[in-house]
Amino acid sequence: MNKTCIVCRCEEVSMKDIEKAMDNGMKTTQEIKMATRAGMGICQGRICRSLLEEVTHENDDQIQEIPSKLTIHNPVRPVALGMVRKGK
């Protein structure tokens, strides 16, 4: 497998970066996110979340009670600051 392939498109995190984080002890998707910024970009993990969960195997053989261990932060959709400004 070519490890230079991009997993998180928004933050440009490659498979190699993720494996390095896992070698350094990161086990869950949340930890990998903290170490590599994967899932923190503008799409907030919409594209890479399933890939990260595949890599960590943290949802195998489990009935999922919560959608993801990756926390999804508000605001749900990014907008430019200028669009929030009042009066102009």
């Binding site: 498109r9 928004c10 440009e12 503008i42 799409c43 919409r46 594209i47 990014p78 907008v79 430019a80 200028g82 669009m83």
Partner: protein, 102 residues
């Protein structure tokens, strides 16, 4: 991306909508999104990525990934795969994109 012939559907003649992308005039058709109008005119690169400056354009096409994001002057950041073209809008790419970029 634009259909010219179809065995069943009647292809309607649609009005040209002039708009700008990086100071270059392009023409879209009524009802198209910015991403589709640009693709039909041969422009597939919509921005450069932050770190490695690689070319980005339409990826998911459904407004999920934000890879197609562009800025409209006076309006801000939009997803070009969802935003319809309007006459006279000035669209700008995130980071410099040259005309011949692949």
């Amino acid at each position: 991306m634009r259909l010219k012939k179809h065995p069943v559907l009647k292809i309607q003649d649609k009005q040209n909508i002039p708009f700008k992308f990086n100071d270059q005039i392009y023409h879209g058709k009524e009802g198209e999104t910015i991403a589709v109008s640009l693709w039909s005119e041969g422009v597939k690169v919509l921005r450069k990525s932050e770190r490695s400056k690689t070319s980005r354009g339409i990826y998911c096409g459904i407004g999920n990934c934000y890879d197609c994001r562009v800025h409209i002057k006076g309006r801000g950041l939009v997803r070009s795969c969802l935003t319809p073209v309007e006459p006279g809008i000035e669209v700008v790419s995130e980071r410099e994109v040259k005309k011949n970029d692949l």
